[in-house]
Amino acid sequence: MEDLDILEKKILSCKNIEEIEKIRIDIFGKKGVLAGEFIKLATLSAEEKKDFAQGLNTAKERLQTSFDSHYANLKKALLEEKLKSEKIDMSLYGGVSNKGALHPVAETMDKIIEYFVALNFSVENGPMVEDDFHNFEALNLPKHHPARDMQDTFYFGDSKLLRTHTSPVQIRKMLSSKPPIRMIAPGSVFRRDYDLTHTPMFHQVEGLVVEDKGEVSFANLKSILTDFLQHMFGSVEVRFRPSFFPFTEPSAEADISCIFCGGDGCRVCSHTGWLEVLGCGIVDPNVFKAVEYENVSGYAFGLGVERFAMLLHKIPDLRSLFEGDIRLLEQFR
């Protein structure tokens, strides 16, 4: 048998799996060095046999250990090599998403709806093509009332019209169900106005709460709307100013402290420090009369979704919202 050290050296000098496989056959194979040595056993006397066999086993063990560990090392090196060869520059693939985006107006509307749904408001809808009764008359806007001037209306040949606000949904809801009512009505509304700050279609969310007479007060309205506006805009101050809407009395407009300048005055808030964001009030008794409700009290509010979206996301141009401009939309991915 060759010198054990030499054999061991042969094992350890293998540089790759193929070489070591060859060596394995040479040493441990059926016709290998060790097998040859074991054959010699047969020719030896019993006395010699014992010593020889013991020596041979020790040698085999030593060789096997060296082999196993070196084999494992080579295997590891091989895996390492393979892994290295699979290297890619991951940074090439970052920054790309094939996701689209929700429209900021629709997404803002979702956020508004979720707030009120969490407060157990129902979500109502109604037709866009309305009649004079639901859009005006029942809302205490009799024909040729000067307040109708506030809302330039689209009319059809059969004297129907495109709803100028979501308020007719209130009327439909009250006519079709009994109080108590706790609803919002999100939807598209239409006015004949088309310039930098007006589009002929825009979106509103309307709210209505009706309870027994004496239950609903202006203080309640202040409470929910202050919380709602802080939900939407964060920690802003909320201010209420008396105003006028034909369907509420008392009426008010709610302002938030300007989210751009913090109230110091800037271009967006026309240097007033305040941004007008919604209208509200206690439901006018004439509205209840129109739907034949008696002994009830209620509040109502309404807001423009585009205005909210533009303020929340600093969108500079109203008209761009209706143009499907991907340069705007992709920013909301």
Binding site: Y93, V96, K99, G100, A101, L102, H103, V117, N120, F121, S122, V123, E124, N125, P127, M128, V129, K143, H144, H145, P146, F154, Y155, F156, G157, D158, L162, R182, S188, R192, D193, Y194, P200, E211, E215, S217, F218, A219, N220, K222, I224, F240, R241, P242, F244, P246, E249, P250, S270, T272, I282, P285, S297, F322, E323, G324, D325, I326, R327, E330
Partner: protein, 779 residues
């Protein structure tokens, strides 16, 4: 509505109130402040007296003036034509810096030295009062020569622009705004009183004017007769205030009327008395009511003016009119609007005021007019007045203060309510316990019930002082199916976004010629939009796709190469019935250029597009297309079928339309939202036994659609057939007009593992059917 601090100060003492406090007050009481402007005349602009005025030797249009400034005389060259009539003027002295930044220096004009500038109102930053220099008079204060104009409080005024809501006709005057402020500040309103002005006594009016009045009138009138002294104009202060309010004109009579109307809120006409002269040269005025209920003023020749609406242009007094008839008028706006509503009548600007409610207190308005016009010697009045007053019963309502408190949500003390309402002009009397009797003044036709009163009280005590209180509600669910519809819609939108689409919102309007061009419905003429805003939006859309393709086109113009859009919205059929649809458009590339596609991404294809839609709306079937419009590709389009119902279509964009919209390869689909209802699913049993996959390749006619083959296979009703789907399609010239179709079948039993012969039996059954019904040949 524009008011100024000094103008208001005529009716309420606000000298000690700062501009900021006024701004807060206006907003708090519901007279929204739209803008504020301060007039500050710069220093070194002083009162001067023109002592002499001679033509410039070398310039026709220039005058050389000698001006006394009190502390010395100056020679000033002036280009304004009206300098020749001027006595007291505003002189910018050397060193003065004008509002536009110009510094006044000694200069020579055509060789003549000029030591200062005689100013116009504009040059001083004041509202313009006509061309030429500003001629000072004592209306602004005592004209002490050399006194700085910045020290004249009346000139250095503050302008407030207020937005008056349509219910507050009573605040369309300085007096009305002052009345609201008096309630807010708790200060007395300074009422209009007769001023002791020595007037040239004239005859009584009834000696000159005959008035005939129809007793059925709805309108009240007060008539004064006067002669005009055309040399006198409204004083400077009034003209500046008028100009600040945007009402200044070159017509002295108009200025006078506007000033009185804007100050007091009464509506006033000035007629030439000759207009009313009859054949006998007597002034005869008929106040009458027409058959269609219009209240009119008529002359002897039947020419009419409609009270509260329009004055006959032929009768309007002007600067040359010698004898003037002033007619103050009031008509309840509710009556006026009712009568006017169904008539096409041209309306003067005053209709804005009368339709919202002008000041019904004609006596005080006439009093104000006679005071100011006599004082400034513009008109000499005849004694007395001719009037007709409509007897309107006072409206009184009973208000329970507890109910008032429950509307506002805060305890209210009876005396607070009484004091607020009294200052606002209501008459309040205390009844039993918490009840108040409230008489509504005529100038508040908008007030009819307790909630109106609540608003009056609320805006004066201030909404900000009300403590916010959450509403106590009885537990009661308001959830119904609509919230689930909303949630489903939101889910579909989110999935569409996840598969790459951008949500768009386009107008529900469309261009009828475009809809017609592409064979989409237009509204029947009787249902059509009467007053569209522009031609491109002249009807309601019957498809979402045209607006979306226009968006796609715009995006393509912005060099966008991947244009994936979806929209959920309403469309309208020709009977204008509204329904909700969802539409998808994908134009251009499938994805961006990137390393994986070596910078050459392929365009969108039908198969990928269908997968993308599937991510959003779930599974659907495709059957031969029954839709007909010019957007559809005749050979790449199909009906979308869900639950055996046709609910929309998918198509490649027709090459002609693709060219029209200037797009690259474009795919689109439009589907009824109602078809995407949330399904309630019952689970079926899952087999515990192995499933077997068998592929079948057959030759069929090229025209044979897979939908037909699918129908044939489904008709067999094989209970072991779990599912099947096409996996390959092949054709070449050797196959002629046939093609080879490979279908994969998944065969499985609920009861046992199937034996080979059972599988074969099932497959044979399928093949036999296909041979018989589809003319298939096994390949």
């Amino acid at each position: 509505m524009i008011v100024t601090r000094n103008w208001l100060n005529e009716f309420i003492d606000i000298k000690e109130t700062s501009d900021d406090e006024l701004c807060v007050a206006f907003n708090a009481i519901g007279l929204e402040l739209a803008s504020i402007k301060k007039f500050n005349i710069p220093n070194k602009i002083v009162v001067g007296e023109i002592i002499s005025c001679e033509k410039h030797p070398d310039a026709d249009k220039l005058n050389v003036c000698s001006v006394d400034l009190g502390f010395g005389k100056r020679q000033i060259v002036c280009g304004a034509a009206n300098v020749v009539y001027a006595k007291y003027v505003a002189v910018a002295t050397i060193g003065a810096v004008m509002p536009d930044g110009l510094e006044i220096k000694p200069t020579k004009l055509r060789g003549v030295e000029s030591d200062g500038m005689i100013c116009s109102a504009d040059e001083l930053g004041l509202p313009s009062v006509g061309s030429g220099i500003m001629i000072l008079d004592e209306s602004i204060g005592e004209l002490e020569l050399g006194k700085d104009l910045s020290e004249f409080a009346l000139l250095n005024d503050t302008l407030f622009e207020l937005e008056i809501t349509p219910n507050r006709g009573d605040c369309l005057s300085v007096y009305g705004v002052a009345r609201d402020l008096s309630a807010y500040f708790g200060k007395d309103l300074i009422e209009i009183k007769e001023e002791n002005i020595s007037k040239k006594v004239k005859l009584g009016i009834s000696r000159e004017v005959a008035l005939n009045i129809n007793s059925e009138m709805d309108a009240s009138v007060e008539i004064k007769l006067a002669t005009q002294d055309s040399e006198h104009k409204l004083p400077l202060l009034c003209l500046i205030q008028l100009s600040a309010a945007g009402l200044f004109t070159q017509d002295n009579i108009q200025n006078m009327l506007q000033y009185i109307m804007h100050t007091t809120g009464i509506v006033l006409w000035a007629f030439d008395a000759n207009y009313f002269k009859n054949d006998e040269d007597k002034i005869n005025i008929d106040i009458d009511k027409t058959q269609d209920d219009l209240n009119i003023v008529k002359n002897s020749f039947g020419k009419t003016s409609i009270i509260g609406v329009s004055q006959d242009k032929d009768g309007i007094a002007n600067a040359k009119t010698e004898q003037i008839i002033l007619i103050a008028q009031y008509i309840n706006p509710n009556i006026l609007n009712d009568v006017i509503s169904d008539k096409k009548i041209d309306k003067d600007p005053i209709f804005y005021n009368t339709s919202r409610g002008s000041n019904p207190n004609l006596e005080s308005g006439i009093l104000y007019a006679t005071n100011i016009l006599s004082k400034y010697e513009i008109l000499d009045f005849y004694d007395g007045v001719l009037s007709h007053k409509v007897n309107i019963e006072d409206r009184t309502i009973l208000i329970d203060c507890l109910e008032l408190a429950s509307i506002i949500g805060q305890d209210l003390d009876k005396s607070t309510v009484t004091s607020i309402l009294s200052r606002l002009g209501f008459k309040v009397s205390s009844k039993i316990e918490n009840v108040l009797g409230i008489t509504i003044p005529q100038f508040r036709p908008d007030i009819t019930n307790i909630q109106d009163i609540a608003e009056e009280v609320l805006r004066i005590i201030g909404i900000d002082t009300i403590e916010a209180k959450p509403l106590k509600i009885k537990e009661n669910t308001h959830r119904d199916s609509k919230i689930f519809e909303y949630r489903l819609k939101k889910q579909i939108r989110n999935r569409a976004v996840a598969s790459g689409f951008y949500e768009t919102i386009s107008y529900v309007f469309s261009d009828s010629s475009l809809q017609e061009k592409y064979d989409f419905d237009n509204l029947k003429s009787e249902f059509e939009l009467l007053n569209p805003i522009v031609a491109e939006l002249n009807t309601l859309r019957s498809t979402l796709l045209l607006n979306m393709l226009l968006s796609a086109k715009r995006n393509s113009n912005y060099s966008k190469k991947i244009i994936p859009l979806f929209e959920i919205g309403s469309v309208f059929d020709s009977d204008r019935v509204e329904s909700q649809k969802i539409a998808f458009v994908w134009s251009g590339q499938r994805e961006l250029e990137n390393v994986s596609n070596h910078g050459k991404p392929s365009n969108m294809d039908m198969s990928t597009f269908l997968q993308k839609i599937g991510f959003a709306i779930g599974s659907f079937d495709l059957k031969s297309c029954s839709f007909k419009n010019a957007l559809l590709h005749p050979y790449q389009s199909a009906n979308i079928v869900i639950d055996n119902k046709v609910c929309g279509f998918v198509s490649k964009l027709h090459p002609q339309a693709q060219e029209d919209f200037d797009l690259s390869d474009t795919f689109m689909a439009e589907i009824d939202m109602s078809a995407l209802a949330q399904k309630h699913i019952l689970a079926t049993e899952i087999s515990k036994f192995q499933s077997n996959i068998k592929d079948l390749s057959i030759l069929v006619d090229k025209d044979m659609s897979f939908a037909n083959i699918k129908e044939i296979i489904e008709e067999i009703g094989c209970d072991k057939l779990h599912s099947f789907y096409p996996v390959d399609l092949y054709s070449d010239t050797s196959l002629g007009d046939k093609q080879s179709l490979t279908i994969r079948f998944v065969i499985q039993s609920l009861e046992k593992t199937l034996e080979d012969n059972e599988l074969e039996e099932a497959m044979n059954k399928i093949l036999d059917s296909l041979i018989q019904k589809a003319g298939a040949v096994l390949r």
